[in-house]
Each structure stands twice: as C-alpha cells, then as structure tokens.
Amino acid sequence: MATKEFTIPEIQEYIEVPDAPIPDATAHLSPFLAKPMHQEPLGFPEEVVDDWKGETLEAMGDLLGKYRGLRVFMDICVKCGSCTDKCHYYIGTADPKNMPVARQDLLRRVYRRYFTFAGKFWGALGMPGFVGAADLKREMLDEMYSYYHQCSECRRCSVFCPYGIDTAEITMAAREILARVGIGQKYNNEIIGKVYTIGNNLGLPERALEDTLEGLEEDIEDETGVAVKLPLNVKGADILLITPSADFFAEPHVDGLMGYAKVFHEAGVSWTISSSASEAANFGMFIGSYENMRKISLRIREAALELGVKRIIFGECGHAWRVAYSFLNTLAGPFDFLDQSYPIPQHILDFTLGEIEKGTLNIDKSLNDEMVVTFHDSCNVARASRIGDKPGSQFTIPRAVIKAVCNNYVDMDPDTIYEKTFCCGGGGGLLTDDLLELRIKGGLPRMTALQTVTEEYGVTHMAAICAICKSQFTKILPYYGFDMDQIVSVHQLVSSALILTGQVDEDDDTESGEEAA
C-alpha cells in the first residue's frame, strides 16, 4: 500500500496548480481494507460478496432514490472544468483522478451506463465511452476505493461549481456502495465500532476518562492555584459538553479542553462531560452511512436525557460540528426537552465569545504576545455549517475570539481562507498513517499559504478549531520545515490569556497589561 518512496513537495512562492496531469500518480494509494470484524458491527458484509456487480448496482439504485443530491449531481455535470484546479489533492499529487470531476466520473460512468438511456444505448452499441459511460468491471471497484479515499469531503469544489455539485456527497455515496459490496475502510469502520462498544473513537473507557479528567484538573490547579473542575456524568448539570475524544489527551487538543473548562469555570455555569457520549466525532458521515451516523448521533440525545441537561455545547471539531449543526436535529431531534433560549447545539466559540462580550473573562492579551497567530478555517465549519446567527459568522466568530486574546493576528492569502479555505489534507476519514503520502501532499496548499505569512509577517502559530486539522498538522508540519507545536487550539490561546479569579501565579503587571490592551 503506501509503502512506495515519495518526495515531499517543495513549497513554491504561490500555490501552483499542476498544468499537466500525471496519470496514476497516486493510483497506488489505498487505505487498509476493513477486516470482517470491522465490517460486521456496522451491518456490512464481512467480505466482498459474490455478486459484486449486482450488489453495486442495487446499492447505487437505492441511494439514487434516497438522495436527491446524488441523483441530480450524477446528471447535471457539464464538464466545464471549473473544479479541476480546486482540490488540494490534485494540487499536491497532480493525479488527474484527483480533479473533483474526474473523481465523480468514477461513479458517474457506472451511473451513465446502467441508469441512463444514453449510456444503455451506446453501451449496447459497444461504445459506452462516447457518452462517458463504462461497463462495470471488478477492478473499477478497487479504483473507486482508492480515489474515493483520496477525497477529504471538504466541499471546496462545490463552492466553485456553477451547479453546486458536491464531490463530498458522491464520495460518501461511493464509500457506502463499496461498504455494502464488502469493501470497507479499516480506519473508519474500526473507529465506529469502538464508538458502539466503548463510547468514543479512541476506545477510552469510562475509568480511564475519569482519571484523565482528574489529571487535567490537577494540571490546571498546579499552574494557576485554582480548582477548576472537569466534571463527568454529573446529573442535573446545565450544559453537556460534547467534544472530540482527541481533546482528552492529544496535543494541542488537550490545551483547548482545559481552555473550555476555564471558560466554563469563569462563566460560573454548571457543565458535564458524558462517558456514554464522550465523543463528538461521527465517522458515520465519512462513510456516507445515514444509519450509522444516526446511531452515533442518538447517543448524544440519550446522554442529554439521562443527565437531564438544559443545553448542549460542542467542542472544537470540524466534521462533528457539521453533524451537530446541520444534521443533529434531523438525526436525533427534536430537542424540545432542552432550553430553547440557546442554540441547539451551540458551538464552544459562540459561548466563549458571548462571555468575552459580557466581560466575565479577565483576559490579558499580552500573555500571548510572543506569538503571531493566523487562523486555519476548517472545511466543515466553513462550507458545511455555521457558528453564530449570521451567514459567514463561522469566519468572524473564531477570529473575534482570537483577536480578543491575542495582540498579533494576521490572515493568510484570501484565496485560502473563509469558504475558499483549503483542507488540512487529513479530513474525511483519511487521518490514518496508511495514507501518509496523500496527507502530506494534500497539505501543500495550506503549507504554502502558511509559509507566505511566516515570511511576510513572522507568523509563529496557526490556530485551528478541528481535532482532525490539529492532528494532521501536528503530523505534517515537520515535513514542510515547520515545528509540530506551531499548530494550536483556539481555546489554548484563550486559556493562556485567561486569568482565573483568584489565580496566584501571575504577578501584578497583569492589571496594567490589560488596560494597555
């Protein structure tokens, strides 16, 4: 699999789109296949079914009838080429099948052949290729498996498509079809299995989670002298915090979690984490499985009911926020038992900005003065959901929070932020080491933009609000000559500028420091 030697792309002055595609440049990239033990708990066949062709077409027909997006997108692409230079994986690999339309065509050629008159007609004449159709062959499923796992479902192409065709929808459908045929991806399916049996992606059992949270409480107290709680399974708490399990121990995620805890502490609200829903992530979305996505979402509803909370707040996570913001009400609603005067669910940044604006947080921006910060918009927040109450406030709220806690902030190239943001390279269920080559190459556009602001403005840190982005950058930054700790959580910045009530370690300068800011 991903064992072939490869070269790390060199950062150029600008993001350069490969003009001449290199066919099959990354045809060798394919994530590990799910074993029977990973397929079975999700309701998929343990291995490739005998009638793979019939099953492929049946699954495809089923999805075409269930998803208007898929049906319409299969029909209406005019091959204008608008998307061909927009995908970070194409920019990083030059493999033409990483151009969004070419990726879509891997499924569309089957659709054309078996579900349209034109494809059936030319297929019967032995010339399906005339109308972009193709007879389904077994190796085409392997090719689909490879290239539909070279898409991070980031939706950048859909921003630029004149019809809004969203390759993410097609990737999800293709992965679902493949899984139903018995070709599943190990990384995603194994993780979903862990969520079902243990409660989170990392397989962290309740006891370990309890210890972890206690350890974090001690860390905060050691540092500040203030006893900040990270409560677990507290019945009757007002707020249920749902956060990606990486927040419990991965760096820099955990610094963000301590940031949430400090903000909740200063805001004086009662909150809790649930051990049965100790995971915001929902990899059911990545594999395009409505049923699995729904099943994972329902845990959150059950936890909220069981603990009797009034509000649900999500921690920093991109795809989890998409599922929470865009799908949770659909999948696990209605949430009529929660306090309707707050957004359901609410994003932690929305909460924190509210507290900053209310003035409940004592912030000393100068404590972050050694940093020059930029912000990486996460694709699922930027293009698939919203934070706050206005279209586009998913861009302004994170920046407002960062600027409230940091004196030095600059944006990256306008073509690489807001809804034009580039994926980190590891989203969509690709954050696995068997796809390291793809992840490194896919990170090229973001690394280029970061390099530019590093040179021009002396940027030292890039903040993110997604667990996958943070893990991905931690991994790939060193390959591009950066340090792995240059990626930070937004709430880590909040945390380091926030002076807790009764905090002992900071000296008297803090008062004047705040006034100067």
Partner: protein
Amino acid sequence: MSLAFAILFYVATLVLVVGVAFKVVQYSKTPAPLKIPTTPAPTTTSGVVMRMFREVVFFESLFKSTIWTWIFAWAFHMGLFAVLFRHGRYFHDLLPAVIVGPLKYAAFAMIIGLIGLLVRRFAVNRVRYISAPSDYAMLILLLLIGISGSMMTFVSHVDIVGVKTYFDAWMTLDFDNLILPPDPVLRIHLFLVAVLMLIFPISKLLHAPGIFFSPTRNQVDNPREVRHVAEWAEKL
C-alpha cells in the same frame, strides 16, 4: 420531406417535454434527507431565491472560479437566450420586428462563446482529460446550429414567410399547408435543432432544470431552527 420534418419535430417536442417533465418529477420526488447547503448560505427562503437567481442569471459560482470559462459560458448562454427569444418572431408573429431586430447580433455572442468553450476543451490539459466525445459533440452541434442560423440571417436570407406559414401549419396540425421552403441551410438548421431537443432529457443538458434542484444551492441554512426529516428516514 416537409412531412418528415413535421413528424421529426412532433417527436422531438414530445421527447423534450415528456423527458424533461419526467426528470423534473423524478428530481422533486427524490428526497433530500439532510441539510447540505454550501455555506455561507441564506437563512431565509427569499435569500435562497436570490442566491439561485444570481447563480442562474449571472453564473455567480463560475465567476468566482474561472473567469475565462465564465466569459465564454455567459456569452454563449445569454446569446442563446436572446436568439431563442427572437425566434418567437418565426412562430405566428409573436414578437414585433422592432424588438427582435437588434437581437440578431446576439448570435455572435453565442458563436464566440461556443468557440471559446470548444477551444478551452482542447487546449487546457485538465479540461481535455475530463472531456468525453459527447462533450465535444454537443458543443459542435450547438455551434453548427448557431452558424447555420446566422447564415440565414446574415448571408443568404431564407424565405421567412414560408417558414412562418410552415410552423403555423405545424402548430395547428394543418397538414395541407405544411410546405417547408426548400432551403438546404434551413433544413440542416432544423434537423440539428431537433437532434438537440431529442438529446436534451438524456444528457448533461439537464443542467438547465437540474440546477434548481441542487440541494447545495437551493436549501435554506436553518437546520437548528427547523427540523428536516425525509420520509424514508422517519421510518428508521
């Protein structure tokens, strides 16, 4: 021959109308189980109508994406619509000559746009890679329609009165007056138009009705406020 063309056009019209109606019904009956607007998206229905209007009339997303494609595509489509509108004159004098007179030059926008799109398909490596033979064929078909039509307007005038009489008869099923002027350019033009009508509902030309059903563009961004559940999903 006049009758053959009449039958061809009856069939082509039937295929176009029934075919597009079938696809529109199919699109509207297929549920969209999840809210997937490409954000930032409007939070109200009127906002979505405006977004769709900008997309359909100005090709907003394409404009943001690739300026040369936008120039050629917009010139072609706007030229096409102007020319189509002008064709009202050939059916029962629906439009006065004053209005349609200057619109004849729109044909040049259409042709230039099509040539631009065709050249782009050959010349840009990435676009050439994703093009199927039918993609070229459709551009050539449209180009030949535009050129043959323009020839009748600008080079060798066709017997317009004869064409009007023919289509009046065609529309009223008056088979006695179904006499098509024997102009070869006219016949080529009409034949190609019929082909275009026939392939419309079975090809990518469905993008015209299809865009209105594109969930990333036609959905309101309000998933937290309004619970959105598809029928099949409710049964789970």
